[in-house]
């Protein structure tokens, strides 16, 4: 059986009286695109920092490609690339200098071919010789991604990589990350853009107050937690409300339902009650609703 790309076992982290992680356990298989979701302060960044060796767990163990992040930190760090959440950079160097330096830190010399490929894929080639100080926020964010990839890590961790990045650049970034995932890289993503997580991640863990409160495939989570929505515009919306709908503006009323077979009986009841249906929209279950549901239940 292949070793897990990431294994987290009963990890706790306390900062004084604050409990940032409260016994987190999870595994990410090699080649997965895995989402780590949660509200601010849920412990996502602490968990990622512990994987990267920036934070030392109070108890429990973490492994990257089978290497313990504390006991065998050299091998563990060699196998992971982390894109930090904060927009940090070294103002002394150009983009290319920075990537060469970062390659060297990981023991990789003469890495210019791969650096050029990363720069090209991240649309950074025209800025290769520009000093970091002269780049826009979005460009700096892409350099952070490039820095995490210089040593071709099998495991890539992206901590909110698209914060402050415009739509075009975001799409380009995801194309590149998807390609890396197809090539066999394991990708772990944290993001507050839930539609991104839904579109990209095969499995998702949700954290709240340092605990895993949901962990399943994205499809299973959508099936398990989210309901479909029937959205109708009524001539008499108050009647819709008496039949269990949630009123919205302009006469729109939302009804939740589990299976499509429920739609026709619901419309029948509205007709019989004289609600007067003018328009109908069907809403698919989405991760945002799952997220809100899970967080409310946890």
């Amino acid at each position: 059986m292949a070793v897990a790309a990431i294994r987290v076992d009963q990890v706790t982290k306390h900062y004084g009286t604050l409990r940032a992680l409260a016994g987190v356990s999870l595994e990410v298989a090699q080649g997965e695109f895995f989402g780590l979701l949660g509200p601010n302060g849920a412990g996502k960044t602490t968990l990622i920092s512990a994987l990267a060796g920036l934070v030392r767990p109070t108890s429990g163990t973490l492994e990257v490609m089978g290497y313990d992040v504390v006991g065998d930190y050299r091998n563990a760090r060699q196998h992971i690339g982390v894109v930090p959440q904060e927009l940090v950079f070294d103002p002394f160097f150009s983009v290319r200098e920075l990537l060469r330096i970062q390659s060297g830190y990981f023991g990789v010399r003469r890495n210019d071919d791969w650096i050029d490929e990363i720069l090209c894929n991240l649309d950074l080639l025209p800025k290769a010789n520009a000093n970091m100080r002269t780049l826009s926020g979005g460009m700096k964010r892409r350099v952070l991604v490039a820095q995490a990839l210089v040593h071709r890590p099998p495991v890539i961790v992206l901590d909110e990589p698209t914060a402050g990045v415009d739509v075009e650049l975001r799409q380009g970034l995801w194309r590149f990350i998807r390609k890396l995932n197809r090539d066999g890289h394991t990708v772990v993503l944290t993001t507050h853009y839930l539609e991104e997580a839904e579109a990209l991640c095969g499995r998702i863990a949700m954290l709240k107050s340092g605990r895993v409160v949901a962990l399943d495939s994205t499809q299973a989570l959508l099936r398990q937690f989210a309901t479909h929505t029937l959205r109708v515009r009524l001539q008499n919306p108050e009647i819709g409300c008496t039949l269990g709908g949630n009123p919205d503006v302009d006469g729109w009323v939302d009804f939740a339902f589990d299976v499509y077979a429920d739609v026709e009986p619901l419309l029948g009841r509205l007709r019989e009650a004289g609600a007067g249906v003018d328009e109908i929209q069907l809403g698919e279950p989405d991760l945002e609703r799952v997220f809100v549901d899970v967080m409310n239940r946890a």
Binding site: L54, V55, F93, Q102, G104, Y105, F106, G107, G184
Partner: protein
């Protein structure tokens, strides 16, 4: 599978060399500020003191004051710049957050230590050499025992580079680093015999200076120029060596435990 394989150990030497190279580039890219400015400062000290005191004061019997002053100024500049290099690099990286790029790779803590300290020693030697070279047209300097000059330059640079690391790791803001520099490093450097021989001081002050390890570094360094010093150079080397080893051990423990670097 894009597995880089078990090359981590084999490549650690490259990681160390890269960090060292980056630290050297960091000060070299702003050489006006990090090398030429301290050389100019020392030259101004030399010109002013030589103008005021050279005709009135001799040291060790017949050595002109300016000639006595040169090794002290060289060593003072060397020590202060060794400290400034590692401390400023670390505090800037911590405050801007880019320290993360050094902490994420598989670089061992002792490699991290060695890279920062060697870079500090290199900058210190460049500044020291610069001060010496610009002094030569104005002052007749002798080189009685060059081996001692090199030994104390290296141990002084390494000691202050290490102290700079301690300060850079400990300080959370520039204000704290400034306090460390102004209330500890500066007095210890200025009151270490840069400008005077301890025999010109009252007994009580002579005893006070003998507990300042910087005094031994400067006195031993000066021995290399004149073949004369206030204390035996072997004693100075012993004191400076023990002081360095103590600071190096302390820094390595801080790094190994991730003090203020890995929470």
């Amino acid at each position: 599978m894009p597995d880089p394989g078990p090359r981590a150990r084999a490549s650690s030497w490259v990681g160390f060399r890269t960090l060292l190279g980056k630290e050297v580039l960091r000060f070299w890219k702003v050489a006006f500020q990090t090398i030429l400015a301290p050389v100019l400062n020392a030259l101004l000290f030399l010109l002013i003191f030589s103008h005021v005191l050279d005709r009135h004061v001799t040291m060790y019997g017949d050595i002109a004051y300016t000639a006595f002053l040169v090794p002290g100024l060289v060593m003072m500049s060397l020590l202060q710049n060794a400290f400034a290099n590692s401390s400023s690099s670390l505090i800037q990286s911590k405050i801007t957050g880019n320290i993360i790029f050094v902490l994420l790779p598989p670089i061992a803590y002792h490699e991290l230590y060695a890279a920062y300290v060697i870079a500090s020693v290199l900058r210190a030697l460049m500044v020291g050499l610069g001060v010496l070279v610009v002094s030569l047209p104005f002052v007749d300097v002798s080189f009685a025992a060059p081996g001692w000059i090199v030994a104390f330059a290296l141990i002084g640079g390494a000691t202050l580079g290490t102290l700079g690391m301690i300060a850079g790791i400990w300080a959370d803001k520039f204000d704290q680093l400034s306090a460390f520099q102004n209330f500890l490093i500066m007095p210890l450097t200025m009151l270490s015999g840069v400008f005077f021989s301890i025999h010109s001081l009252p007994d009580i002050w002579q005893e006070v200076l003998r507990i300042n390890p910087f005094f031994f570094m400067i006195d031993g360094f000066r021995y290399g120029f004149f073949g004369q010093s206030d204390v035996n150079p072997w004693l100075s080397l012993g004191v400076a060596g023990v002081f360095f080893l103590f600071l190096a051990a302390l820094t390595l423990v801080m790094l190994a435990r991730g003090y203020k670097l890995r929470s």
